[in-house]
Amino acid sequence: MGKLLQLSCILLYLVSTVAAILVVSKVIEVRSMCTEEKKKISSLVSEIKDLKDENTRLMVEYYSKVRPELVDKNSSNLKDFKEDEVEYIR
């Protein structure tokens, strides 16, 4: 009876050690997955930010090119109609 108890104790020690190792490795795995995902999100966020900056840059470039002063200058050979020179059709 005493031996059986001793054996079961040893077995219990072993099982708990294995269980502890398993839990710890799972935790490590989950944490590393989290870190990976965090990295992905972070790079995505930074990519979005870069794209936004690029969008602003292009918008600024576009509106600088179509700004009224430039359009007016480039079309200076065209006639500015007066109100009485236009025949209005509704």
């Binding site: 999100i41 870069d50 900056d53 509106y63 009224p68 109100e83 059709i89």
Partner: protein
């Protein structure tokens, strides 16, 4: 001495009484330990109870800190979504001249000289195919000119003054600032350039104190791509802080700047803040909201260009022009010449021209106030538009004699003709019927003597004294716009009320606040502040104002396809030098609406002190042509359907028209028949 002996005896007795051990050494050790325990206990009590707050505060100031981060500024857009102001990420290159040993080689690399790249390719065993790729990579550096490189190299270092006043030479010189290049490409170019340099020069980068011989920093600068509307939009300083107009106001109200992030972190004794790992990974600053304005960028340009043309012609003190939608209070264009042109040098003189004088510079408006007086009398039911007034050549009020507009002729005028011919004697009689108190109330209700509340800083309320302080002569002059100071915007708001059915709308320049994702955070709706005159009176006033253009003082603004209604105002200015009114100094105003049968626009132009010959010193010669040109351009730009003619295409393709709204003009004038 005796006391000391007594004290010693007392101590010895106490020791004999208290000593727990026979051995003296043990007793000394015991008492010493007891004393130390008492001291430490007291200190613990002191730290954790009596002076707890003091020490906690000190500890927190040493070990925790707040890290403030300002967000990127939002954009300013016009009513069509055109970009008026935006924050652009830019690159600023720097150089460390003292670290560069082979300057010629360095310069050739930066300029992307093919022979140097070939040399590098040979030394590194890179195939010829990659040479063109390297040259392409170095391209972002080509924005740096030879001159900029030379200047930076010759400067060698930057002198920095420390807090203690000590001058320190830092091996860092700005090479080129605010370059709108892609940071990723620039980063690649800089890395490649440095690699080539270290390979060819044989220098060891790890032995250098500053191996980044050339580098860059990114920052945001405020740009104004559409380059219009400085008197509304304003500018920021080089640190990105709003200085004038909307840039200033929207920052002050925290609309455009977004939230200032406050992150707690740990701080060491030197004051350096360390943020947690999470913060550095996920920290992203929230951009400020974008703001859509009621301004139309293209109309604003038309206004600026036109007022500049007339400004250069007449050299006045200033010209103001404000275009408003009378049915909502939205300001579609507003400018004040001379105005600051984006890109101009920011001298003290130039920055002065950012001031929106259409809200900051009140002036005596003159006869443009007459229609408001008549509207008040009509609204009160004291007269009708056809009431006949006897207008003698002169009229004495108090000690002042006022003349009529008919050069000594004794005339009879219908009420509406007083406005058409802008007769002072007639309008004084209308005002007298109304009384001081009523006139004051109406002027207040039309928005004079108080700020309109437009979303621009520095607005003036103008001057309108309380009616109780008016002398009879003041009252008379008030009826034709003297003894009162108004701003151009106040006039625009008042004329909007006059023609839109009688409702005073708060003038607005903000249309909506939109967040970074394009979601409308707040939309600004028209603000109906009060009813001033009835719809019926407003309709009558529209017809009366039309007569000023169709046959009165504003005939210069008459258009072929549209009915325009408005009123001129020539106010002789008070000159403190001569202590009276100076006839060679005037403020010319024209306030009007179009198409007047169903007003869509109210336009007010003010020209202050034009430097023109004496015979030109009339609003009809100064303000009227400017008004006409602006009105024409607005109508054509907005493709407004005419209200005077209706065009049709006949089956053969011929275009014909018929006159419409002919009954809109008044024909029963007493002086009109004589004309």
């Amino acid at each position: 001495m005796r006391l000391f002996i007594l004290f010693k005896e007392l101590l010895s007795k106490l020791y004999g009484f208290l000593k727990p051990f026979k051995e003296d050494r043990l007793n000394y050790f015991f008492f010493m330990s007891l004393l130390l325990v008492i001291i430490f206990t007291w200190r613990i009590f002191d730290l954790s109870y009596f002076s707890k707050e003091k020490w906690l505060k000190l500890a927190s100031s040493q070990f925790t800190g707040i890290f403030k981060l300002s967000s990127e500024r939002g954009e300013l857009l016009d009513r069509n979504g055109s970009l008026l102001a935006a924050s652009l990420k830019v690159i600023s290159f720097y150089l460390r001249p003292t670290e560069i040993k082979d300057w010629e080689l360095f310069k050739e690399i930066i300029k992307g000289k093919p022979s140097v790249i070939e040399q590098y390719a040979q030394k590194s065993g890179i195939g010829e195919k990659r040479i063109s790729k390297i040259l392409e990579t170095l391209k972002p550096l080509s924005v740096i000119s030879d001159e900029e490189l030379r200047k930076a190299y010759e400067k060698k270092y930057t002198v920095v003054v420390t807090k203690s006043g000590k001058k320190v030479k830092v091996p860092f010189v700005w090479l080129k600032k605010d370059v709108p290049e892609d940071p990723k490409e620039v980063k690649r170019a800089v890395r490649t350039a440095l690699r080539i340099y270290y390979t060819l020069s044989g220098e060891n980068r790890f032995r250098k104190k500053h191996p980044d011989l050339i580098g860059f920093l990114t920052e945001y600068v405020r740009v104004y791509p559409y380059q219009v509307g400085s008197t509304v939009v304003g500018i920021t300083n080089k640190f990105g802080e709003g200085l004038y107009n909307l840039e200033y106001l929207l920052e002050k109200e925290n609309v455009i700047t977004g939230d200032v992030l406050k992150l707690s972190g740990e701080k060491d004794v030197q004051g350096k803040v360390y943020l947690g790992k999470e913060a550095t990974v996920f920290l992203r600053k929230k951009k400020g909201n974008n703001v859509e304005l009621t301004i139309d960028g293209n109309l604003q340009y038309i206004f600026e260009k036109t007022v500049e043309k007339y400004g250069n012609k007449w050299h006045p003190n200033f010209i103001n022009a404000v275009l408003m939608d009378p049915n909502s209070g939205e300001i579609l264009a507003a400018t004040s010449w001379p105005y600051y042109k984006y890109g101009q040098k920011r001298t003290k003189e130039n920055l002065k021209y950012l001031i929106p004088r259409f809200i900051t510079s009140p002036y005596e408006p003159g006869s443009v106030m007459k229609p408001l007086v008549l509207a008040a009398a009509l609204n009160e039911g004291l007269i009708t538009k056809d009431t006949v007034f006897h207008c003698p050549p002169t009229m004495k009020v108090g000690n002042k004699v006022f003349k009529n507009e008919f050069h000594g002729r004794d005339v009879k005028l219908r009420a509406w003709e007083i406005i058409e011919y802008s007769d002072n004697v007639g309008i004084i009689q209308v005002a007298q019927l109304l009384g001081k108190r009523k006139l004051y109330q109406y002027y207040r209700n039309f928005g004079f003597g108080k700020r309109t509340g437009v979303e621009l800083p520095g607005e003036s309320p103008g001057i309108l004294r309380n009616w109780k302080k008016w002398r009879d002569v003041d009252f008379a002059t008030l009826s034709f716009g003297h003894n009162i100071s108004v701003t151009t915007l106040q006039l625009a708001a008042a004329y909007s009320t006059l023609v839109n059915g009688g409702i005073y709308y708060k003038p607005r320049i903000l249309k909506a606040v939109i967040d970074e994702k394009g979601k409308v955070v707040k939309e600004f709706q028209p603000v109906k502040l009060r009813r001033v005159i009835s719809d019926r009176t407003s309709k009558v006033m529209r017809r009366i104002l039309t007569m000023v253009v169709e046959g009165g003082t504003g005939v210069g603004t008459k258009l072929v396809n549209f009915y325009i209604g408005g009123k001129t105002g020539t106010a002789v200015k008070y000159d403190p030098k001569i202590g009276g009114y100076n006839r060679s100094k005037i403020t010319a105003t024209f306030a009007g609406a179009f198409p007047i049968t169903n007003p869509r626009y109210v336009l007010v132009v003010t020209v202050d002190e034009p430097k023109v010959p004496k015979n030109m010193l009339w609003a009809s010669k100064i303000a009227v042509p400017l008004f006409k040109e602006l009105a024409q351009r607005v109508l054509l730009y907005e493709r407004t359907p005419p209200d005077k003619r209706e065009y049709r295409v006949k089956p053969g393709g011929e275009i014909t028209y018929t006159e419409i709204n002919r009954d809109f003009i008044l024909t029963n004038g007493l002086e009109q028949k004589k004309k």
